[in-house]
């Protein structure tokens, strides 16, 4: 929806000479396509509301109250191509499906122009396949609306949430095997692209764990002495991990580092107010 707003900026562009009808992304459109009464600003939003080429065709047919079974292919093709052209003009990511449909319309149109042979039995009306597809699509478009109107749990009906008075007893929780957890993670890794893979590195996990520790140390309102985060018992590696964790948190702007003077103690505190913290 915000796409419509971005286009309004174009109206403020300086204009010279013959006023164009509109400037859409730098391209001047001197007149709206014939029989197309949609303000170009709204066009992008408008086109995004179509669920695809069949949906657009249905709209065109409906808009002119045409019988779906008697589509004047030439006229529809003409209008359809105008829409496709408009999409191109405003650099809308033009889905290949729209082009395929345009080609299909053009093909039907050309075949309609050829004389029909009465004696050839097998020859079917070139519009038949299109009509069939449109009808089939329309049924499911309707079914989708019907489903949306059906009352369902979580939107129209809600489950009851009353206080349950139980006998003293431990509630058994689902058991989770570490393997299951790893499998779930593997499934994510398989889905995300390689670039995201690299963000998840082995070395990081100890630092990430430490980040969580440092953050929980900072939960109070007071400033925490930077030095107090380090424990000599952990050895050199532990110190490095803590330092890396603090740097990472600073980078994420989750914590602040404060030092009153040079050589004064360094304090850390969480960024922003803390009252919402659990």
């Amino acid at each position: 929806m915000d796409k419509g707003e971005t286009n309004t900026d174009n109206h403020t562009l300086p204009r010279q000479g013959e006023l164009p009808f509109a400037i859409v992304q730098g391209e001047a459109i001197s007149a709206p396509p014939e029989d197309l009464y949609i303000p170009p600003n709204a066009l992008e939003v408008f086109l995004e509301t179509f669920e695809g080429p069949l949906d657009l065709l249905l709209y065109l047919i409906r808009r002119q109250n045409l019988d779906i079974l008697d589509i004047p292919i030439a006229e529809i093709t003409h209008q359809y191509m105008e829409y496709v052209e408009m999409m191109r003009n405003i650099n809308l990511d033009l889905a290949a499906e729209y082009l395929v449909m345009a080609a299909m319309l053009a093909e039907i149109k050309s075949r309609m122009l050829l004389p029909r042979h009465e004696d050839v039995e097998d020859e079917e009306d070139p519009r038949a396949e299109l009509v069939r597809r449109l009808q089939e699509y329309e049924r499911f478009k309707q079914a989708a609306t019907d489903i949306d109107e059906m009352p369902h749990l979580g939107r129209d009906n809600f489950p009851l949430d009353v206080e349950v008075i139980r006998a003293e007893k431990e509630k058994p929780e689902p058991e989770v095997d570490l393997k299951e957890l790893l499998l779930a993670f593997q499934a994510i890794l398989k889905r995300v692209d390689m670039q995201k893979h690299h963000e998840i590195e082995r070395e990081e996990i100890s630092i990430r764990e430490r980040m969580t520790h440092v953050l929980s140390r900072l939960k109070g309102d007071d400033f925490v002495d930077f030095q107090s985060l380090f424990s000599l018992k952990e050895g050199r590696l532990g110190v490095v991990v803590t330092l890396m964790a603090v740097l990472e948190l600073l980078k994420l702007k989750v914590i602040d580092m404060v030092q009153a003077d040079a050589f004064a103690p360094i304090y850390l505190k969480p960024v922003g107010s803390q009252e919402e913290l659990d």
Binding site: G52, L54, R127
Partner: protein, 199 residues
């Protein structure tokens, strides 16, 4: 068991359940000494349902069994509790769902064929996570694409006992009269695409 007591027990059980409970499951809560049979439970459930007929919530039966839920007519009162408004579904999601409901088992490619556009993985994933659809098998064609179907949870969500209760697909318009030349071709198609739901 006295019928008022049986009703009260069933109410307490149902109101504290996280999902719908079948008569069979409810029967499992009782032991022999309770002297309760299927018939008693069925009758008690009917009485409970009628007792709450004019209240703020109701007892409904869905595919998996019986559950209490707030009545649809009071939804705008109930939703005032929450900051989050219930999710709205995109047309793409609903059309995809409609195709899976009425044409199951169906592959993603078949859905794309009818809709004329690619189906995003996001939509399939969302439907799977809501547990409305699942993979019911694989089609024996190259690539063995997954066949999608609806779940029992889908029926539970939509207050349905079975898919038969879904509204039927709209009829294909009467072709012969309007467009005689198309008659033959479309008749064949119609036969393939019967209106009936898969059983």
């Amino acid at each position: 068991m006295q019928k008022e007591k049986l009703q009260a027990i069933l109410e307490a059980i149902l109101v504290s359940a996280e999902k719908p409970l079948s008569v069979e499951k409810l029967l499992g809560f009782f032991n022999e000494d309770d002297l309760v049979n299927r018939q008693d439970i069925k009758r008690a459930l009917e009485q409970i349902a009628s007792f709450y007929q004019n209240r703020g919530f109701e007892l409904v039966e869905t595919a998996s069994g019986f559950r209490f839920q707030t009545r649809e007519e009071y939804k705008q009162w109930v939703t005032q509790h929450w900051d989050e408004k219930p999710a709205k579904y995109s047309r793409a999601l609903l059309e995809t769902l409609a195709l899976i409901v009425y044409r199951q088992p169906i592959t993603r490619a078949e859905i794309e064929d009818i809709r004329g556009v690619a189906v995003s993985s996001h939509i399939i994933k969302t439907l799977q996570e809501r547990e409305w659809i699942r993979i019911v098998g694989h089609k024996e064609v190259p690539g063995r694409p997954a066949l999608l179907g609806t779940t029992r949870q889908f029926l539970d969500y939509f207050n349905l006992k079975s898919l038969d209760e879904m509204p039927s697909l709209s009829e294909v318009q009467d072709i012969e009269k309007l467009y005689p030349e198309l008659e033959l071709k479309l008749k064949e198609q119609q036969q393939e695409n019967e209106n009936e739901l898969p059983s």
